[in-house]
Amino acid sequence: MLQPLPLWHRVDPLGALLTAVGALALATLPFVVFKANRIVPGEAHGLLQVLPAGLALACQVALLIAATVALVRFSAPLRLAVALATIAVLALALASAADALTPPGNKVVRVAAGGAFWLLLVCSGLMATDAITRLRPGPLVRVALLAGFLLVTLLVLAHGTFDHLSVMREYAVNAGRFPRALRQHVLLALGSLAAAVVVALPLGILCHRLPRLRPGVLGTLNVIQTIPAIALFGILMAPLGALAAALPWVGDLGIRGIGAAPAAVALFLYSLLPIVANTLQGLEHVSRSAVEAARGMGMTAWQVLTGVELILALPVILTGVRVVLVQNIGMTTVAALIGGGGLGTFVFQGIGQTAIDLVLLGAIPIVVLAFSAAVLLDALIEVMQRAPS
């Protein structure tokens, strides 16, 4: 006869930690912060203080259920569903708190999420990722999950649920400039990556074939990597400006000392090292026997390289590309300081006005972009790794 497990063994350690952090956050930190305008210090509000009674009760019940499911070792799918539901409940509670605190028609007050909201969000997010890790979904399922999450978020934002929240207030003011900034940001990050792949891939192959080149090439790229981004942007302004002044047609093509050009060149330079290094490493780890076999079949050197070596090295090379893409999405932020545009414009404008919500308007999309890029490329790498076997 099977004895039921003692309760102690059924407690999930991660869940216990998350529940403790969540409960502590809810008890000690504000759920929302209300400011009469953008620069006065805010007043803190707890979750129960601001929500209408019925809603507050529902919210408490939802959080209690979440805590129970987190604490006890329930199945991964249930934990995932509850974690996602908790995120939805938190978001809706925040939206209704903002609605409740905003006087009708007032566009000056700012209602922002407080520490308790952010910590609870992190806890639910960790619970969800933990459940997803336990479920071991395939790459396509992970991409589908991401796409679904983004789609739901965009629909809710478009519906106007969060319009009274401070970040969305800043969005409303900057709605005209936002799509352009987003486009510039993505173009800069992807464009410099594409250019880097075109140069770094042959360079990596060359380093593999001619070991004499390695110390020089990798050493130079290493030095470039250590130059702070803002300094490199600054250094590039002078030569590009001089180039545009000397050859007006270069300037007409958009290559100037100020604007996207120095940012693109700097991002391109930063992108080289990870791709060259990973190409080299990937090629070195291609098994000798595979190469010998290909030669034995009468393949030319070119066919061996493109048909065998690069295919086998692809997952490692793509890992380098993934590093570069995530790094570029973050680093493009600094482009705003030299007229390159992008989401960094909001970040630096927000810092200048001490308007944290404006900073977040730039920062949150950057984080989402980087996270999505990482998930997408991870999935791609996994598909590639499975393909040859």
Binding site: I39, V173, L337, Q349
Partner: protein, 311 residues
Amino acid sequence: MQRHSAYRQPTRAAALLCALLLLAAVARAGSTPLIVSSKLDSEATMLSQMVRLVLNGAGITTIDRTRIGATPVVRKALLTGEIDLYVEYSGNAEFFFNDSADPAWKDLRQGYALGARLDYAANHIVWLTPAPVSNSWALAVRRDLAERAQLRTMSDFARWVRGGGAVVLACSAEFANAGTLRALEQTYHFTLSSAQLIVLAGGETAATIGAAAAGTNGTNTAMVYGTDGGITAANLVMLADDLHEQPIYAPVPLIREAALRSNPQIAQLVRPLMESLDLATLRALNARVQIDGEADEAVAADYLRAHGFLK
């Protein structure tokens, strides 16, 4: 055959490049729009947008390249001809020409004249009409304190501090360390101990004003800019620089001579606009951007329509 096609490939690329160059040359030969730029901060952007919208209204085509960077970036862009116009502050010429000894910078008219002369001689940059205001650093105190201790000017403030007034000043590291505070102390004869200073690392005026408004750690005095939108909203009173210690930072649109020559009416279009801006107006407009969070361009357009500069 192989060699032949390999030869043909580059020719095609060259032809494409030539076509591109031709296109670029044609684009250049057409009417060149005026490139209007600005620094990153909200006031400079709002003023540059005002100028741009007024020129647009008069039928001059402009390109909006506002908010491109900090002062050195925008300045360099103007000098290299990458932009045509932006709004600068007259007192900054003191640093552009490394000439801080000249007392002219402490007077609006003289400082403007000196800066305009130096910039034209060195760079063929024309200074258009300045707004008759100064955005220089100043101190502001809480209104309750100003009324209780009767503080209106820096001289009043110095007298109060010398008499043992319990001052706590919130300011930026730059203000405290780069000599601005020391210059004020020397001119007005007062000294603040380090216990009376709260030096904020970032040191944006929104933070110093916020500290004084909330009385954080006893803060009752804040470093501000003359045209700060937060001064009135946070119920502070700015102390007048009655001995004219600080250089004047009057907003001035700067334009490259070549760009002005192809559209000479720009000078006449900008003059009434800049002359219409006084301290109270600028503070109120800045408050709408900095405190209410409205878009700088929208506030600029509103002002222009309300005052008949734009139909």
